[in-house]
């Protein structure tokens, strides 16, 4: 098992390095050069030159690369072009917001999706199943930001239960904080939950058909024990996979949902930095998001060891 985890961690680090390099190369290959893009067409050559020197873009490429990597590892993430704050500070204030919303969405999504999938599988073609299936279908048919808008209209504007704009930090109170992340959390969590529900349902249906379930029946085991003790863990294995893959939806969704709710999270930061050609911010934000993504997938890999004994304990010993 440890070998497996070590392998996955190594893989994750490799992927991060690849992403970093791609970002590095990508942002330096902007047509016309990043500096010209940042300053605009009318920039004077001297302004261009001085900014280039400032950003270290006049050095040979490999020197830039090493400097950049080295800087990151020692905590220097560069400076924003437009505001003079360090990128680190900007990201530091934006990240907790995005992470809160994403985490809330995932937890809520799983809490809804897994029981919904189980119900769908055990009460096939009954009303409860149809409700779950339709819900799942609808969940993946709407862009996250639209869900956010609908929620904002109904629960924010009409009913007034939740704030429609802004994020309240937990330091100002847990309840206000929660209230500020509920609606955006649901908006990113719903498409996520939809995918997980479908997989849970179909995986459980398949599992219940397996030969070892017949054995359980033949032993006289009650149907509830069959479901929870015998079937569920086996059915969860593909669900863990999907839960990991779908995290991409949560991260992607938060970008647009943050705009809807006026939250200054990583999504807002990323988009603004692109519109402003604020490349130092852009590259670090993308890197961070990729990092969160890779890390979450690593967690999923580790989760496998808990769920599938075949991974935890090696193979045959006769």
């Amino acid at each position: 098992m440890w070998r497996y985890i070590a392998k996955r961690t190594g893989h994750a680090i490799f992927v991060m390095w690849m992403v970093a390099t791609t970002v590095f190369v990508g942002l330096r290959s902007v047509p016309g050069g990043p500096v010209r893009a940042m300053l605009g067409q009318e920039a004077t050559p001297s302004a261009v030159a001085s900014l280039r020197a400032d950003l270290g873009l006049d050095q040979p490429l490999h020197v830039q690369y090493v400097d950049w990597l080295g800087g990151m590892l020692s905590g220097d993430f560069g400076r924003s072009i437009t505001s003079s704050e360090t990128v680190g500070a900007l990201i530091g204030s934006a990240a907790p917001k995005t992470i809160s919303i994403a985490a809330f969405g995932v937890v809520l999504g799983l809490a809804v999706a897994i029981p919904a999938g189980i119900i769908g599988a055990t009460r096939r073609n009954e009303p409860a199943d149809y409700a779950a299936t339709v819900g799942a279908f609808v969940g993946i048919s709407m862009p996250a930001f639209f869900i956010g808008i609908l929620l904002a209209i109904v629960f924010g504007v009409q009913l007034g239960w939740f704030p429609v704009v802004g994020y309240t930090s937990p330091s100002e109170g847990v309840v206000p904080w929660l209230k500020s992340i509920v609606l955006p959390g649901i908006a990113v969590g719903l498409p996520y939950a939809a995918g997980v529900t479908r997989m849970m349902r179909s995986s459980l249906i398949e599992t219940l058909d397996e030969q070892y379930m017949r054995t359980a029946v033949a032993k006289g085991i009650s149907s509830r024990v069959q479901l929870y003790k015998h079937a569920l863990q086996n059915a969860m294995i593909p669900v863990v996979t999907i839960a990991g893959i779908q995290l991409a939806l949560v991260l992607g969704g938060s970008v647009t949902v943050e705009i809807v709710f006026g939250i200054q999270g990583l999504g807002r930061l990323l988009v603004n930095s692109i519109l402003e050609r604020n490349y130092p911010v852009t590259q670090m934000t993308i890197l961070l998001v990729a990092g969160i993504f890779v890390f979450m997938n690593l967690l999923v890999d580790v989760a496998y060891t808990a769920i599938d004994p075949r991974i935890r304990y090696g193979g045959e010993q006769s």
Binding site: F137, A248, L251, V255, Y279
Partner: protein
């Protein structure tokens, strides 16, 4: 034990001779073996559409969507820049001389008007054009790039295969919107092509995977060996022999991909990073109405419902097609 061997070649163990030997039955018990009919692709699709009501509904909406986009100027009740009263509610009416013919008429705004006084329904109808165009272009892009990569990977195998598929896999798994945003950043700006590439790149994997699977499975087949023996070049083999077999999963995948492309384009537009045509896309319409959700919720909600309807339609149609072509869920997303 011989029973006097005539034409009857009864096995040795048979003690008596039966009136009916092995495999023979009295005529009244004869049964016809029914053979499963071969159905052409078109027949199977028609069959599914008849059975699966949801898929049929989906197909209808899809057709309506395409027609609306193509004939937008004729279908839209008004001009996209025609102004009426500001932020009027759905099903409200305006009275006035709008077509400049001197007489006063009353028109109904089925979906209301927005903050500029434009008729929402009209804007949605016009918006369908770009949404459709971009979505199809994106799928076409992903299709082309994906099948090319998939054919190369499957055909050559080895490290090319590994490299290509690993790269494609990672891109696919990465959040689409963020990827799209990143690509737009790199490509240096906004515009049509950038958006298509930005979203399309995320879907390359699905097509590549399908084609690669087909290629791998038929690579060793005899007719490929035969083609080689006759001296067919690699390229010809790949495109003439292998590609046609993968057509049905590719069609299904494309159908299922369009809704994702629509959603992706809508998201990018919403962020202000999408295409900026003369009339707004649906994503831009939603974005435009965002500031008014407390006073005029319909400005954002109506285009959103349109997106939802179209996406649902493509999804149900795609699912139905998948059934028609008898493909498992594992094969096509």
């Amino acid at each position: 034990m011989s029973t006097g061997n005539e034409a009857d070649d009864a096995p040795d163990f048979a003690r008596n001779e039966g009136e009916f030997g092995s495999g023979e039955v009295p005529s009244e018990y004869e049964t016809d073996e029914s053979v499963e009919e071969y159905k052409t692709t078109a027949q199977r699709v028609a069959g599914v559409l008849k059975r699966d009501k949801l898929a049929l509904a989906g197909a209808i909406v899809v057709v309506a969507f395409v027609l609306t986009a193509v004939f937008a100027p004729y279908i839209a009740p008004h001009g996209p820049e025609e102004q009426f009263g500001f932020m009027q509610e759905p099903m409200s009416q305006s009275t006035g001389d709008f077509d400049g013919d001197g007489s006063v008429e009353t028109v109904t705004h089925y979906l209301g008007t927005d903050d500029f006084g434009y008729d929402v329904l009209t804007r949605i109808v016009y918006g369908s054009q770009i949404s459709l165009l971009v979505a199809f272009a994106t799928v076409a892009f992903a299709f082309t790039v994906g099948t090319t990569l998939g054919v190369l990977a499957g055909f050559y195998g080895g490290w090319i295969d590994t490299l290509v598929m690993r790269g494609v896999d990672f891109v696919w798994a990465f959040p689409t919107i963020i990827l799209g945003v990143g690509v737009i950043a790199v490509m240096g700006g906004l515009g049509w092509v950038n958006v298509v590439v930005a979203i399309g790149i995320a879907f390359v994997d699905d097509f590549a995977r399908i084609i690669r699977g087909e290629v791998l499975s038929i690579r060793e087949e005899e007719y490929i060996t035969a083609a080689r023996a006759v001296g067919m070049g690699d390229g010809r083999i790949m495109f003439r022999e292998m590609l046609p077999n993968a057509v049905s999963p590719l069609i299904v995948q494309a159908t299922l991909m369009v809704p994702f492309a629509i959603l992706g384009e809508a998201s990018l537009s919403f962020l202000g990073l999408g295409v900026k045509p003369t009339t707004p896309t649906w994503g831009l319409l939603i974005s435009g109405g965002r500031g008014f959700i407390s006073q005029a919720w319909w400005i954002s909600v109506m285009p959103g419902l349109a997106i939802m309807a179209v996406v649902l339609a493509f999804n149900t149609l795609g699912d139905g097609l998948r059934d028609a072509f008898d493909l498992s869920e594992g094969e096509v997303n």
